[in-house]
Symmetry: C2
Subunit: 366 residues, 2 copies
């Protein structure tokens, strides 16, 4: 693995869309006791269900800490590769490399990771093992790696349409815990130059109470070039209403890198999901403070799906809207099968199916 | 990775000779403080020299414990892959899989490992991380794995000529700390059935004071089909004289699987190498007992070389015989370059260059 200090865009590399063909997918076996209740047993099962679906059409690599390796290897099917790798938590989207391609070769980008806000408003300390994972994964996969550690970014805060447009949120990328020394223009230039893009679309915000400072991957996602889904509620009394409306208004007012107006599909949100006292009882404190309190609202959203080669893996919450969300996504991905996974046990950790995955694109994507 | 319970020989698989083409090589970054003096710094440098030579013609994968990963990654050249993997010590020959091929596909054999003798006369306790490595490496390399954990064997105790002959030592394979419940005939059948061989040649012994119970890879090695080198001393007063002579007499009396008489080349031994008080001072005790005592004789031998695709990497001891050994091996491997590495800092750990390597054969070897 060579460590590169040049710019992907100048080198002819760009980030493909998630709906382009994948070579594989990376996940991390859950373990952290202040993130996953009751020793992560329920989370493991939910992760395993997600992995099982993705592994039907992609080569899945699961990173397990040395003391979780045997449990992971025993639990997961033989076609899934389990490798030993240290981590602080289990969010492959945010700690694995962002992969870029020039149509022949794949390279990884190693962004700086500071647990979603560092000492300002990060979610745990330390985060050193997480921050090392992108480079370790490039080494494992034999791909060269761009050193971008001086720029704090998580994979969940960006989406690419593969045709020059990047989608992000102001709430996250302009937050004080990431790159406060950089102007909005400088941050945008970083996205364009590293992701090989022409235009950055800045949604104002994400999902209410999303502790990542409102990652885009929980509120809005590309389903095709020029098309997105947006998390939506009709309840005007919900905090989320104004937030989704502001995103809708923004998306209605812009064009993408190709000059297209975006088709915006509304994806309903489930009724607010709150954490129970029993669930909180199963979580370790962090520095003597609880990480969740009973009744706390979780950032549940159907937008946090993963687009595998032959499936779309969609979070389900035991909500009447589960089926509606599945049907909408099935209609938007006619060549794939939309499959639901009951994801409350992932959501309790703070994210969802998209957050626990990172696709490895096929290098040969045109 | 599928776990297989069938027999490699019946499945059409066999162990190629080390001098057949390799796809790559596995090593483990040294760390154990009761094996490697002064925090393993000198050992790391010697390992890095060996790795550097092998990496000129093979894809090298180095396993580093999580707290050694950064040091390994920084120290080793970019074309070497570093992966995180737990280990108890650093002898890839003995803990990595033995690879077998059917001419198309590669598979690994996961032997049982008990630190060269388990609770009877093993060298450390516990050995659980070492014993897990073969399977982890098969998983990492995406090759299916034969579960042979019920049979205790280390890679250093066998050599294959790739044409049906296995070379081993009675001293090691019939030792009480490995498979005392099995007869010699049963052990031999295990070798034949797992390594796809027809005939096992049983040298009586190995190198004096070799704490592996005298692994064959320190005393005798195939250099071509029908040809071996044998560690040799002319000093009749040395303990080793009778041992080498017994091996010579045995090798002169047998034929290989193809019915050939063996050509035996004598490879001189260096003058006895003993460990110094200063070196012992740099080693942690194990359970309150020193692992080395000043003046202790080490099992130095030039036979512990590694045959890379384009090089033969040969231990050197600062002995007048260093050059002679290099010249003999150069003449026996005319298509490769014989390169010496000063290996005292590997020898102190108890083995040498062959012991710290494990080749991954090309699956397509005919």
């Amino acid at each position: 693995m060579k460590i590169l200090h040049s710019e992907p865009k100048k080198d002819g590399y760009r980030m493909p869309a998630e709906f382009a063909e994948h070579e594989g997918c990376i996940l991390i076996f859950p373990h952290r006791r202040d993130s996953w209740q009751n020793g992560a047993y329920a989370a493991r099962k939910a992760f395993a269900e997600v992995i099982d679906i993705i592994a039907r059409s992609e080569q899945v690599t699961v990173c397990a800490r040395y003391d979780d390796y045997d449990a992971a290897r025993f639990m997961l099917p033989p076609q899934v590769r389990v490798v030993e790798m240290s981590s602080d938590d289990s969010w492959a989207r945010d700690v694995a490399p962002t992969f870029v391609t020039n149509g022949t070769d794949l390279r990884g980008i190693d962004w700086g990771f500071n647990a979603w806000g560092g000492l300002t408003d990060g979610l745990y300390f330390p985060w050193d093992q997480d921050n090392k994972m992108a480079r370790k994964l490039c080494d494992l996969l034999n791909v060269d790696c761009y050193d971008r550690r001086e720029f704090i970014l998580e994979g969940g805060s960006i989406h690419s349409d593969g045709e020059g447009t990047i989608l992000t949120t102001e709430a996250c990328l302009l937050s004080k815990g990431r790159n406060p020394q950089l102007s909005r223009e400088e941050i945008e230039a970083n996205l364009r130059n590293n992701l090989g893009a022409e235009k950055v679309l800045w949604l104002p915000c994400g999902i209410y109470h999303d502790e990542t400072n409102e990652h885009v991957d929980n509120v809005c996602a590309f389903t095709a070039p020029g098309e997105v889904v947006l998390a939506w509620t009709e309840d005007e009394n919900d905090h989320q209403y104004a937030m989704s409306k502001a995103c809708w208004d923004y998306l209605s007012s812009v064009t993408d890198a190709k000059g297209r107006q975006l088709r915006v599909h509304r994806l309903p949100l489930p009724a607010p999901v709150t954490v129970t006292a029993e669930e909180c009882d199963g979580l370790d404190d962090m520095n003597g403070e609880p990480t969740r309190t009973p009744g706390e609202r979780l950032a549940a959203s159907y937008v946090n799906f993963y687009i595998a080669n032959q499936h779309v893996v969609v979070p389900q919450f035991g909500d009447p809207k589960d089926q509606t969300a599945l049907e909408i996504l099935q209609s938007l991905f006619p060549t794939r099968q939309a499959v639901g996974v009951y994801a409350r046990d992932i959501l309790i950790g703070g994210g969802n199916i998209h957050c626990i995955t990172q696709q490895i694109p096929r290098a040969s994507i045109s």
